[in-house]
């Protein structure tokens, strides 16, 4: 009988439902309950997707970097760190993509163009491409151990660029608005329902990230198991052929 493989468990089902509820709450808060912005009016609403997406992407990339360090240190080396790093980076790239697309749509409304060559948007794009490179390294067909080491180094170098992305708005001072929620003096710019909607958006995206990483991690485990079984089956077939030919006693 064919074995039924799944990455789901009762815990991930609960996490999935919580993510859905949080996303729905964010949609209600962001689209209906939060008021229009004084300056941007209704155009402020992409904020509740755009900003949480890049925060979660940062968390995903930092997680990938931390797991890469844990994999590189011989005392803590374990294949699970490599799998978590890969899963986290993949999901981080997706959130980074959501941030870029929502930013472009928001830019079309507020600036009149999809793309402005301002520092933060451009740096976010570079970060996105850097981690695409990381994923490309992970997809190379070499032994898992060698691939893991190269990917771990790549993740650390790419993560070193995250501060440049976030603080580039301060360094390069261009068209992009100042950081939306927390300024350098840590005064909150958003208040009331707007801040609530943003907070819910962040929690919802974080739950989705957690749910997706668990599934991707389990998928990686299944992929490795399937590869091991395929290799074992191929060896067994070859052995049977040789036994049939009388070459192995």
């Amino acid at each position: 009988m064919r074995e039924r493989l799944s990455t789901s468990s009762p815990a991930t089902k609960v996490l999935g439902w919580c993510s859905l509820v949080a996303l729905a709450t964010t949609a209600v808060l962001g689209l209906w309950i939060s008021p229009p912005d004084v300056i941007q009016g209704e155009a402020v609403r992409p904020l509740y997707v755009h900003v949480p997406a890049i925060w979660v992407a940062y968390i995903a990339f930092i997680t990938a970097a931390v797991c890469s360090v844990l994999w590189l240190v011989p005392r803590t080396r374990n294949v699970k760190w490599d799998r978590i790093a890969g899963a986290s980076a993949e999901i981080g790239v997706v959130f980074s993509g959501i941030n870029l697309v929502s930013g472009m749509l928001w830019g079309r409304i507020t600036w009149g163009v999809y793309w402005q060559w301002d520092a933060r948007l451009t740096s976010a794009l570079l970060l996105f491409v850097l981690f695409l490179g990381y994923l490309a390294v992970r997809r190379t067909t070499i032994e898992p151990e060698r691939r893991a080491k190269r990917a771990a180094v790549m993740a650390l170098v790419a993560a070193a660029n995250i501060p440049i992305v976030h603080f580039s708005v301060v360094w390069w001072r261009t068209l992009h608005q100042e950081a939306s929620v927390i300024r350098q003096d840590l005064d909150f710019e958003l208040e009331g329902e707007m801040l609530q909607a943003l907070g819910f958006g962040f929690v919802a995206f974080l739950l989705v990230y957690g749910w997706a990483v668990v599934h991707r991690y389990r998928l990686a485990v299944l992929e490795d198991q399937a590869e091991e079984r395929a290799v074992a089956a191929a060896i067994e077939r070859r052995r049977a052929e040789l036994v049939g030919a009388g070459e192995v006693g």
Partner: protein, 222 residues
């Protein structure tokens, strides 16, 4: 470490001197980039002068991809990575040597490109010290990144296509800061260009440190 670095750099430069790939292929290619860009903007002298700093660094970046690919390729054939590993040389020294040789080749390309932008784009360098400092700091980063990602892609079947994907986004800040510094060196904009040279120096330190720390580990697995 430094002695090992000098030995590796001398080996790489000797290889280049004998094969003449950098001089006969990479250098003409870099100058060709300047010419092609002139075609692209319809040879408008004012526009070319204005965008010369950026075009200079784009040409250097493209040359880096070729030179770094070449620097990696010479180590990938006939079990040479095993030879490097078994040579007893300090891995940090190997990194410094290979990066140094790559930097030397890029500096030659930049010298040719400097003549190119002066001749073809009618650019005047008002602050040569700033210009050279930006070139040096940027070149150290480009050579370090090229060498680090070169060993990272060593032995991979997709090396030629993977290397540009890894190198270009990583060195984009060099393009930005180098262009800003050269704009000031050409007196196109007001203000000090030294803060941009400072940024280039910081990025260079980060990548040299990353290369020194990671090169040996990556070479072991190559």
């Amino acid at each position: 470490m430094l002695r090992d670095a000098c030995a590796v750099a001398a080996k790489d430069l000797r290889l280049e001197w004998r094969s003449k790939v950098a001089v006969n292929q990479i250098l003409p290619f870099a100058v060709l980039v300047l010419v092609v860009f002139a075609f692209a903007v319809d040879a408008d002298a004012a526009i070319l002068r204005r965008i010369a700093p950026g075009l200079f660094w784009v040409a250097v970046l493209l040359s880096t991809l070729l030179a770094a690919g070449r620097s990696t390729a010479v180590e990938s054939a006939d079990g040479l990575p095993d030879g490097l590993r078994l040579s007893g040389l300090d891995p940090a020294g190997i990194f410094l040597g290979k990066a140094g040789a790559l930097a030397a080749q890029l500096l030659v390309v930049e010298a040719a490109l400097t003549i190119g932008i002066v001749v073809f784009y009618d650019v005047r360098i008002d602050d040569p010290l700033l210009y050279v400092a930006a070139c040096l700091a940027g070149t150290i980063t480009l050579a370090s990144v090229g060498t680090l990602y070169g060993v990272l892609s060593l032995g991979l079947r997709v090396r030629e296509t993977l290397l540009p994907l890894l190198v270009v986004p990583a060195v984009a800040p060099v393009l930005l800061a180098g262009t800003r510094a050269h704009e000031r060196a050409f007196d196109q904009v007001t203000g000090s260009g030294w803060s941009w040279v400072g940024l280039l120096a910081v990025i260079a330190v980060v990548y040299v440190a990353a290369g020194l720390a990671a090169y040996g580990s990556l070479l072991e697995e190559a």
